[in-house]
Amino acid sequence: MPLKPPAAKDKKAAAGVDRRSFVALCFDPLVLAFGFMAVTSQVWVLALARFMFPNVLVEPPTAFKIGPASDYPLGGVSTKWLAARGVWIVHTDQYKGRNLIYALASVCTHLGCTPNWLEGEQKYKCPCHGSGFYVNGINFEGPAPRPLERVGLKLAADGQLEVDKSVKFQEEMGQWEDSNSFVDGSLA
């Protein structure tokens, strides 16, 4: 800090910061340094925020066609779309006795691992903490607190089934009654 003559100090005490000492303050190395630091970090934060909105999103569209319903016979769990889209196509009459086709998201409702469909045991079994789900998606063993989630499924105009991953339906909220969450199984 540059030394100030005692007179200047007195003046400051009397009239607050005058113009000259304010300018001097602005060029004080310490103030400059902190100022630069503040500005730089602000720019960083903004850049980071911008980073969260990429110019191009390389994600497949959320809605996609999976072929005619006849590809999914009753009593089967199709893992055809698991690797690419993360859904199982289930055709079962084990949920409230109704013959339905629906798409289950392959995300464990415990902590989000991807369970495996075990054909022999007829259950989805999560490798992380051992949650198990029946073929219809209802949880029955392990820590998962709620059933697997359904995603949207409808019959498109061209007769194919169309999955819509942008919507989801939770059983415990009663959303599985929603007609967008399944397709009548007798179509198959």
């Binding site: 691992c113 991807t114 075990l118 079994k125 490798p127 051992g130 198990g132």
Partner: protein, 470 residues
């Protein structure tokens, strides 16, 4: 160079079984292990000889005594012979007989492949360790324990499945950790017993009597530097000898089976099997950290400062050790060695069968309660609003709320009047409440495990609608 044809001929001699229990190279390696054990025991024999300890024989053997060194010498000789057997029989693995017998494998697996027995055994072992601490902390007993565990490890290596799990580069440090934890626990009891004996005789602890102060420079700094160099050398050797287990690129839709957390988080992962993610992943870890920080403020026992002791701090040490050994180290062992595909529990000699079936049908407390009363679960009319639903949900889960409320609010009061009376008087209300709640939260994990195993209890309070499950 000469050994190369020999090795290849051994390999071709091996049976065609895909998972052979013993192969020539395994037998050869075990021969080396027994040889190392032999050398260790020769050194120990030499030590015993110089110490001149002996064991008094019981009266029916007409009194008398035998020197400990004689016992260790005999044992070393046996090890030498065993090692020789391995070296000479290495070429014929099919007829090799010095292996872990099948009945022993079955017996061990029957215990460890069931989480209930496993937890019971670790807990009972923990209690026995505390009860017999004076006997266990003798040098000869400690050495015998080390030998027993090493022998168990060595002979178990004749099993293919055991080798897969123990020899995985990820798991080698866990095996080492077991021995390190054992060693330091032993050292603690050895020193604590000494001081406890002294204080019973009215003498000051060792640390106060031989108060040898040393200089920071050079004594401490040199020691530190030598340790630093040794550890660096060890890490370099380790990095060269055991390759990092790299796997295929990660994929969001394919989870490895089993998926294991890093070893130091396996306790948390085990907790996640019993509790909801927000409890096991957020609340409990924070309580563990916060609780540890709170210990100095909770503790009113002025004894045990600056010297090893058990008797002066029985409660503190027992509580800590219970949390550390059966609950933390025990869970790491469970997660590392016993959890297999689909997060099922497997024995250490058991094949990791992806299709092993363990049927569990977990039931919530509310379901037990209402179905037990012969009533359906209270449920709001379909499609109703949040405010109509809420009372139904709360009523449905009332048993759970009552149970948890009793556990965390009423139980501390009851304990204050009974088992923790002295603590309550010394601590005052606030400190006592913090203390008792920490203890109860720690006990919540084993309690929930026991409930899960005994009655398949899933959650005490289960409100999936609000992401609130306890």
């Amino acid at each position: 160079m000469n050994s190369l044809p020999l090795i290849t001929s051994w390999l071709s001699l091996g049976s065609l079984e895909p998972h052979p229990n013993v192969t020539p190279s395994v037998i050869f390696g075990l021969g080396w292990l027994y040889l190392i054990l032999f050398c260790m025991n020769v050194a120990w024999t030499w030590r015993s000889f110089h110490k001149g300890h002996h064991i008094d024989l019981p009266a029916f053997a007409r009194g008398g005594h035998i020197p400990t060194a004689a016992i260790w010498a005999t044992y070393s000789t046996v090890l030498m012979l065993v090692s020789l057997i391995h070296f000479s029989c290495a070429s014929s693995p099919d007829s090799f007989w010095f292996i872990m017998p099948d009945f022993a494998k079955t017996a061990v697996d029957a215990v460890v492949a069931d989480a209930r027995y496993y937890f019971a055994v670790t807990t009972v072992g923990f209690v026995l360790m505390l009860l017999f601490r004076n006997w266990l902390a003798q040098p000869n007993i400690g050495w015998a324990l080390l030998n027993l565990s090493l022998l168990f490890l060595t002979i178990s290596l004749t099993d293919w499945d055991f080798r897969q799990i123990v020899g995985k580069p990820d798991n080698v440090p866990i095996v080492a950790m077991l021995f390190i934890v054992g060693f330091f626990t032993w050292v603690f009891f050895y020193r604590a017993n000494e001081n406890d004996r002294r204080s019973a005789q009215g003498r000051p602890p060792v640390e106060a009597e031989n108060n040898e102060k040393v200089l920071t420079w050079p004594d401490l700094v040199y020691t530190e530097m030598i340790c630093m160099i040794a550890v660096t050398a060890l890490l370099i050797l380790w990095g060269i000898a055991l390759q990092a287990p790299l796997e295929e690129p990660a994929s969001a839709v394919k989870t490895p089976n089993p998926s294991k957390a890093p070893w130091y988080f396996l306790g948390l992962q085990e907790m996640l099997v019993y509790y909801d993610p927000w409890l096991a992943g957020v609340v409990f870890p924070s309580v563990i950290l916060g609780g540890m920080m709170a210990i100095p403020y909770i503790d009113f026992n002025k004894l045990g400062n600056g010297y090893y002791t058990f008797n002066d701090r029985k409660f503190a040490i027992t509580t800590f050790m219970f949390g550390f050994m059966p609950l933390w180290i025990g869970m790491i062992v469970l997660g590392t060695f016993l959890r297999g595909p689909n997060w099922n529990v497997f024995g250490i000699y058991e094949f990791w069968d992806v299709h092993k079936l363990e049927a569990l049908n977990n039931v919530n407390l509310s379901e037990y309660f209402w179905y037990g009363l012969g009533q359906p679960l209270p449920m709001a009319p379909a499609g109703s609003e949040f405010w109509t639903q809420a009372p139904y949900i709360l009523l449905r889960e009332a048993p759970g709320f009552l149970a948890i409320g009793f556990y965390l609010v009423a139980l501390p009061g009851l304990m204050a009047g009974t088992i923790f009376k002295k603590f309550f008087v010394r601590m005052g209300f606030v400190r006592y409440m913090v203390f008792s709640n920490l203890v109860l939260m720690m006990a919540a994990l084993p309690l929930k495990m026991v409930f899960r195993w005994a009655v398949n209890l899933k959650y005490f309070i289960a409100i999936p609608e609000w992401f609130f499950n306890v």
